[in-house]
């Protein structure tokens, strides 16, 4: 997959249904087979992005927690600072990747 250009849609801090709307807007002018990843801190997005993909004939490729922006060698920091995927407001960031259908 590393040879494919992946479009990243950053929808962090946006509440439902905005992450899905941002993703759909980014997908509008793309070709079938294109791959897009949306980043979201909204708990509904990891249910609603797959539902949107199903309704539009797209395929969910992957759904994962984004590892935190922890600098290497940060061992010994307290758990809060190294909590993977955490944003400043404490939410988890999910990365959901879809491949557009025909």
């Amino acid at each position: 997959m590393s040879d494919e250009p992946v479009t990243l849609v950053d929808a962090r801090t946006l509440r439902c249904p905005l992450p899905v709307i941002r993703l759909a807007a980014a997908a509008r002018d793309r070709a079938p087979g294109d791959v897009l990843t949306v980043w979201s801190t909204d708990p509904a997005a990891r249910h609603d992005v797959p539902a949107w993909a199903r309704m539009r004939g797209h395929a969910v490729v992957e759904s994962t927690v984004v590892e935190g922006t922890v600098v290497e060698g940060a061992e010994g920091q307290d758990a809060d600072a190294t909590d993977s995927g955490s944003t400043p407001d404490g939410g988890t960031t999910w990365a959901i990747t879809v491949r557009l259908g025909g």
Binding site: R15, C16, P17, L18, V20, I21, A24, A25, R28, D42, P43, A44, H47, D48, P50, A51, W52, M55
Partner: protein, 388 residues
Amino acid sequence: MTDTTTPPRRVYLDNGGRAALHPLARTALAQAIDDGWADPRRLYAEARRAAVLLDGAREAIAAGLGARTEEVHLAPSHVAALHAAVGAVALGRRRTGPGIVVSAVERAAVLHAAELAVATAGSPDALVKVPVDTLGRVDEAAMTEAVASPGTALAALQVANGEVGTVQPVAAVHAAARRAGVPLVVDAGAVVGHGEVPDAWDLLAADPADWGGPAGVGVLAVRNRVRWRRTWPEDAEPWFPGGVSVPAAFAAAVALQSVLADRAAQDTRRRAIVDKVRAVVGQIPDVEVVGDPDDRLPHVVTFSFLFVDGEALVTELDRAGFAVGSGSACTSSTLEPSHVLAAMGVLTHGNVRIALDRATTQDDVDRFLAVLPGAVARVRASLGVSGL
């Protein structure tokens, strides 16, 4: 001066878990406040009058549920009934093991009580949530297998899901639980007064506020064979310390008798309205009408609109005179979407649930259906999603 502007009549379409008070319940409540205000446990005429009303209420509720009177315990709420049922059976059967098996779409009260029970037992991983299909029906094979696994203290399954209406395979799961000697807690909260309650339970919880009784009373029926142990202090009332409001219990029983008497006629009438709602709403662009289309509650219908903010839609409909429910995250303080819609894998945003009362007319619903497409379009326009 004559008032020429009549405000449009409010239409209440959120009769799930908190239905409008049944007219006969209102009459019974007023009567029971006059006759049954005293503490039924005391030793004088006023108390005996209250005790007669309370005994009568328990007897009538038991008859309506297909239980024996001594099996029926009155709780302060449906949530309290479910909490007590799950917690007390888990503790009573702790020697068997800590395991609890539930469907993933049980009411939050069941899930939370089960989480607390396994955590208290020191085995937080002993809670098994059995998945559902896209219609919301639990995987029967997986659940019957899970209840038979060693170390299972209890299982819980609803008769039907109150959010999406889908009926669950309670009889089959109860048969499997019986073979394994595992008690089954059955949540009939969305069903009593509306649908068939199978005689397939060890503990049965029912919700008067759902069938037109007053809020402030719940029902838990417990078969005599069930082993349980209270997780609360001792009281003269073994299951629900302090007893319940006699007028509320009496009114709940009167409402139950009434709704059971016209259930068949209301089933046909409300099913026809729901079928029409499903057909008409299905024509609105980018909508998912969810739940089983046939094997379902007669009065509940749920749908989700793509690219719609659920809170904005509920507010828009409220402004137009219609009260509806929603399982969308945007309508909850926690930002967590409905665990039921999430478990089904259907759209959780833009969700609307309507639950029809006996007093809801075809005309009420037709007016709602006339207003709904415009309300959806306005919310979508405000989010700038046309053409997506």
